[in-house]
């Protein structure tokens, strides 16, 4: 069962394609991180998922065969948009009431309990809350709807490190309570490494790589060895990133055949951050039309 399935998804604004031929799926119960540079199409993809935008081409389905933006989809997706836009002129209590009234299912006591723990009073104006409190309120309102899928668009962007930690801790606690899938976009790779078990790297409107974090890490290697032998490595692996210093080179490769051992090269499992950065650097090159990785080749040389 997938909570999200996109096939050749495209979204065009005027003559510009913000997304093109994106295919990906997110299994139920996972926490998926959507990563990419500014302008990669993360928010566009998320807007399509939550029904704020309609795709120009391709198909997008949630919870099996439900159209985004439909009543069933809206009912089952909690969304915290970038900068967590809420009605600043309202008091927190009124904001909660609005959310409660606009949803058939809404757990007011959950919000009140969480806000009490965070020290946010209901008579505070929403516009007067700190960035962290604001984000926590938006997250509480989304979670109180009891969603099956929680979508967070750059939730950490404006938060200080402590607020980031608290925010993600709340998200993970909600996941741990059971049944919740999460899709969140972020620039903060350190945070996503801690919480994400599924990764989607987006660049120039195309999916560069997508999959379970464990599978992706298992399918990639950091190789360290003589710079003169880079071509040899390239014959066995797809080289995603190369860093060289004199005669020494450090490669991140996609290891399609893990059994191949290369003499003079030391192998290690990359971190999520190294993996993401390699694909983002790769994304600076012209995008491949689909998520599939092209045939073995050196994508970038120093």
């Amino acid at each position: 069962m997938t909570v999200l399935e996109a096939q050749d998804l495209g979204k065009r604004f005027g003559r510009t394609w913000a997304l093109r031929e994106c295919s990906l799926s997110i299994p139920k119960g996972c926490t998926a991180a959507l990563v990419g540079p500014n302008g990669a199409g993360k928010t566009t993809l998320i807007n399509c998922v939550v029904g704020l935008s309609q795709p120009t081409e391709g198909s997008l389905r949630v919870f099996g065969d439900v159209a985004p933006g439909s009543h069933q989809a809206l009912r089952s997706i909690g969304f915290v948009a970038q900068d967590a836009p809420l009605y600043g002129h309202l008091r927190v209590g009124a904001m909660i009431e609005v959310a409660e009234r606009l949803n058939q299912s809404f757990d007011v006591s959950l919000v009140q309990r969480r806000l009490q723990e965070l020290g946010i009073r209901s008579d505070h104006r929403v516009g007067s809350l700190s960035g962290g409190q604001h984000a926590q309120l938006a997250l509480s309102l989304a979670l109180a709807r009891g969603p099956e899928l929680l979508v967070l668009d750059e939730p950490l962007a404006r938060l200080d490190p402590l607020a980031r930690h608290q925010f993600m801790a709340e998200v993970m606690a909600a996941v741990a309570d059971g049944g919740l899938s999460v899709l969140f976009s972020s620039h903060v790779i350190a945070e996503l490494e801690r919480v994400a078990d599924h990764l989607i790297v987006l660049s120039h409107g195309s999916v560069r790589v997508a999959g379970a974090v464990d599978d992706l890490l298992a399918g990639h290697r950091i190789l360290e060895g003589p710079a003169a032998d880079i071509d040899v490595v390239g014959r066995h692996h797809q080289v995603l990133d190369v860093e060289s210093a004199g005669r020494f080179a450090r490669l991140l490769v996609r290891s399609e055949s893990p059994g191949v051992e290369l003499s003079n090269w030391e192998s290690a499992v990359p971190s999520v951050e190294e993996l993401v950065l390699a694909y983002l650097k790769e994304g600076e090159a012209p995008a491949s039309p689909r998520a599939e990785v092209p045939p073995l080749q050196i994508v970038k040389t120093p």
Partner: protein
């Protein structure tokens, strides 16, 4: 068995919807300040009408009408009555002007920000992703605003009609609303609702509050100007023409919008639209001929028993009046309201469709 399995597989209560009363309540909480402001403006305008009406000199107005001063009677008391009600007329016209621009103000300050503020502040990303759905929420918000504006302006229109009735009978008002067929209670809300829909459409399209307000003001001003330019011809088109005695108020459109008191020129109770000098066969006259008429019938030293109609007949001229028979007044109003209603509906539909498209 298949149906049973399907129903088991479906999420519970998936058919149930957010209740309308909850959406209305949320709309109230979100737009409480705007609703209260609109209500206070309506109450203020209503109070101004009531105060103006209460403070007017009704005795003098009655005397003015009863002595026929409104239609040229040369009774000595007329000057006294006219002086007594002069300030009432000034106050009345001030109120009429304020009420006349009310629809534009409503469009600019209520209609335009309704959706543009959501887009500008980004709160649409919260509101439109709630279970209620963007279309339903937008329709309820529009309907709530339209309801309060329609009820409020209809009440104001009725008050204004009551206030103006006496002045219209005295031939002292010209606001396209003859007292015999006062329709302000209908036309004022119609224009106000159109203004709200126009503002909402512009706001949805532009997504910036100040820009949406400016464009809405320009569009509504253009609509009003268009009505003033074309409505008269439209009314004349469905009305009738007749030769008349000279209007006591002089040339051209002096008696515009007033009920006819001249049975010889048009059916009693008709709505006089326009008067002008022409040839006896209805043809246009030259500027020189017009100056001749002005010199002949409006000279300063005319004898007391001077008959302008006779003078015109001798000189082969006539005074023409365009009128709308009382029987065609309401059909005309309905014919006018239908395009307004269609425009309003179209503006609302396009606004919501624009939002749905994403």
């Amino acid at each position: 068995m298949t149906a049973t399995l399907a129903s088991l597989a479906a999420p519970p209560n998936i058919k149930s919807r957010v209740l309308l009363r909850d959406v209305v309540r949320a709309t109230w909480v979100l737009h409480r300040t705007m609703f209260v402001s609109v209500f206070l403006v309506m109450v203020g305008a209503g109070a101004a009408i009531l105060v103006g009406h209460a403070s007017s000199s009704r005795t003098s107005l009655s005397g003015f009408i009863q002595h026929g001063c409104a239609f040229g009677a040369q009774v000595g008391a007329c000057d006294r009555y006219r002086k007594a009600i002069a300030s009432d007329v000034v106050v009345f016209h001030g109120i009429v002007i304020a009420i006349s621009v009310l629809p534009i103000l409503i469009g600019v300050f209520v209609g335009a920000p309704l959706l543009s503020r959501e887009r500008e502040s980004g709160t649409f990303r919260f509101a439109w992703t709630q279970e209620v759905g963007r279309s339903r929420l937008t329709w309820v918000q529009l309907a709530a605003v339209v309801a309060i504006v329609a009820v409020g302006t209809s009440a104001l229109g009725a008050l204004l009609g009551s206030y103006s009735h006496g002045l219209e009978m005295a031939n002292l008002d010209s606001r396209w609303e003859p007292g015999l067929f006062d329709a302000t209670w209908l036309t004022l809300p119609a224009f106000s609702v159109l203004a709200v829909a126009t503002g909402a459409l512009v706001g949805a399209a532009i997504g910036r509050v100040v820009a949406a307000m400016a464009v809405t003001a320009a569009v509504l001003a253009g609509l009003v100007l268009g009505f003033f330019l074309f409505l008269e011809h439209l009314v004349i088109g469905v009305g009738g023409l007749a030769t008349s005695r000279l209007s006591p108020y002089g040339l051209g459109v002096g008696s515009l919008g007033l009920p006819s008191a001249d049975a010889s020129s048009s059916p009693q109770g008709s709505w006089l639209i326009r008067g002008w000098f022409g040839s006896v066969d209805g043809g246009a006259i030259s500027a020189a001929a017009r100056r001749t008429i002005e010199g002949g019938v409006y000279a300063n030293n005319l004898p007391v028993d001077f008959d302008p109609t006779q003078w015109l007949t001798i000189h082969h001229f006539a005074y023409w009046v365009a009128y709308q028979p009382s029987s065609s007044f309401w059909p005309f109003q309905i014919a006018l309201l239908v395009p307004l209603a269609l425009l309003t509906a179209a503006a609302s539909l396009v606004a919501v469709h624009h939002l749905r498209r994403g």
